[in-house]
């Protein structure tokens, strides 16, 4: 069982070129911020390393941080064997949001990433099937959980009632 500081140390040793930042000043849970385009490599390491053994992705959620003009994704990882947990965060630009997909490592990430794409428009690179999931496939009015989203007046020629 390892805490976030020890995991950060292991990551820094294994990926000397990548930047990591630990944020633990917020109440409740600390998290590690890493680069969105290498999150798949980092995840591979976290999953395969026997001392870390993060075999389960509990949750993946997109967040719109409109004030900083960025979109972010939070990953909640857990090891069912070693019983430790980790929160990762990646930050990407709001105008061209691109994050590497972790579907290869945790298959359960598939729908979570589709949901983040559907709701925030975050593009997950190398995702096998990046379609909308909760909204209609032909929804053209953007991504509803973005803070500046506005409901369209019409959907496929029909008036949107609310």
């Amino acid at each position: 069982m390892k805490n976030t500081e020890e995991i950060l140390q292991a990551l820094k040793e294994n990926f000397p070129d990548f930047s990591f930042e630990l944020k633990s000043d917020l109440p409740v849970e600390g998290f590690i911020i890493c680069n969105p385009l290498v999150i798949d490599k980092i995840s591979h390491f976290l999953h395969d390393n026997p001392e870390l053994n993060f075999d389960s992705l509990i949750n993946l959620s997109g967040v719109d941080e409109i004030k900083a003009n960025q979109l972010s994704v939070y990953y909640h990882l857990e090891s069912t064997e070693l019983k430790h947990k980790l929160v990762l965060k990646v930050v990407t630009d709001r105008n061209s949001p691109e994050v590497a997909s972790v579907t290869d490592i945790w298959k359960g990430a598939n729908w979570h990433e589709r949901e983040a794409y559907d709701m925030f428009g975050i593009k997950f690179l190398n995702h096998p099937d990046l379609r909308r999931i909760l909204m209609p496939y032909d929804w053209e009015a953007g991504h509803p959980l973005r803070k500046d989203y506005e409901n369209p007046e019409f959907y496929q020629g029909m008036k949107v009632p609310f």
Partner: protein
């Protein structure tokens, strides 16, 4: 003469739509089945028919106003949804709630687990063609709903567990009626076993169908009874205890492959039966130890957490229910993401169904026990 050799017949893949209006999809779910004859080659679930923008709504409401909306996600386990939200919010606020509140919450959550499993088991039997157990299960579930009704006035959508407390204290008759229910319910589990669990036809339909290996289950993030049926002891009540679960003595049933392979549909079914017995144990202990106190003393007058984020989770009847809440320091949340157990579990349907027949899709879908209300949120 007709050549019956299969190699001589040209076959073509057929696509069949099952749902959205179909009694065995347990809600509005559309399955796109790719078929080779009657053998499934691919299943593509299409969801979103019940999307009600829960997460968007949350961003426009104050923290206490969200509670009734959580009820409507997994509508068969509303107490569990409320408990999950309360656990997450209390972690974010850093407040302690009185012991009596925690005990009542555990009793409610476990009664809800039994009620939810009864629906799962009953409808599972009905899907496969056994109609009588369905009526037995609903009869017993109605007794639990009556207990909820005398407590808070609602049968299904309670708004009972609030952040920091409860909306009402227990009804004076509650403890006696719950004990009566436990006494009546124990023999009916045996009855259900005789009529359905060990029924030869039922076993033939479910054993060795839809086998889920434990490695695949963890990789997909499957949780709850579906994961335990694959043979791993993983239960948040034990592994990451919340509320007062650490004070009770109970087992975690796992699938053993009694009639087939570990992790088949029968195991997933039977784990739920065993879990009901464990829930009864917890309720009995909680009723014996139930402390006195005021259930509303810890409710904050105004909920305004510091900026930060929290992930709170509970063991709901369908698996791990998690709330990821981001606060920006105001009275409304900045972002709420719900990790719905059924949403994650439904992803494995394609893996499980490959190579089985259409009739087995019903069996497998029933055995993973999904609720579309929380998948689409």
């Amino acid at each position: 003469m007709i050549n019956t050799k299969s190699s001589a017949i040209r076959t073509e893949e057929m696509v069949l739509n099952m749902g959205p209006q179909h009694p065995s999809t347990h809600g509005v779910l559309r399955l796109e089945l790719a078929l080779e004859g009657e053998i499934i080659t691919k299943v593509t679930p299409h969801i979103g028919y019940l999307h009600r923008c829960f997460e968007k709504h949350c961003e426009a409401m104050t923290y206490p106003q969200i509670v009734p909306y959580t009820d409507r996600m997994d509508y068969l386990a509303s107490m569990g949804n409320e408990l999950g939200y309360a656990v997450a919010m209390e972690k974010l606020l850093g407040i302690e709630v009185p012991q009596r509140v925690e005990y009542i919450r555990v009793i409610m959550a476990e009664l809800q687990r039994i009620a939810s499993h009864l629906v799962a088991l009953g409808t599972y039997g009905a899907d496969i063609g056994a109609f009588t157990p369905f009526l037995y299960c609903f009869r017993d579930r109605e007794k639990i709903l009556h207990l909820f009704e005398i407590t808070c006035g609602a049968r299904l959508l309670y708004n009972y567990i609030w952040v920091g407390g409860l909306s009402h204290d227990l009804h004076p008759d509650f403890v006696r009626k719950t004990r009566d229910f436990i006494k009546e319910f124990k023999p009916t589990i045996k009855e259900l076993n005789d009529i359905l669990s060990y029924n030869k036809i039922f076993i033939d339909r479910t054993a060795n169908v839809g086998i889920l290996p434990v490695k695949t289950a963890i990789n997909f993030g499957v949780s709850g009874p579906n994961l335990r049926a694959s043979g791993i002891k993983w239960d948040i009540r034990k592994d990451d205890p919340y509320s007062v679960y650490s004070k009770f003595d109970f087992d975690i049933p796992v699938g053993k492959g009694t009639h087939g392979t570990v992790g088949d549909s029968w195991d997933r079914y039977f784990v739920r039966i065993l879990e009901m017995e464990e829930s009864l144990k917890i309720i009995e202990q909680a009723l014996d130890q139930l402390p006195d106190g005021d259930v509303q003393s810890a409710i904050p007058k105004r909920i305004k957490p510091n900026a930060g984020h929290v992930y709170g989770r509970v063991e709901n009847p369908r698996g791990e229910l998690g709330y990821f809440i981001i606060s920006d320091g105001s009275t409304t949340p900045y972002r709420v993401k719900v990790r719905a157990p059924s949403f994650v579990t439904l992803q494995i349907l394609g893996e499980l169904c490959k190579g089985y027949m259409i009739a087995d899709v019903i069996t497998i879908l029933g055995s993973i026990d999904i609720v579309l209300g929380e998948i689409d949120r």
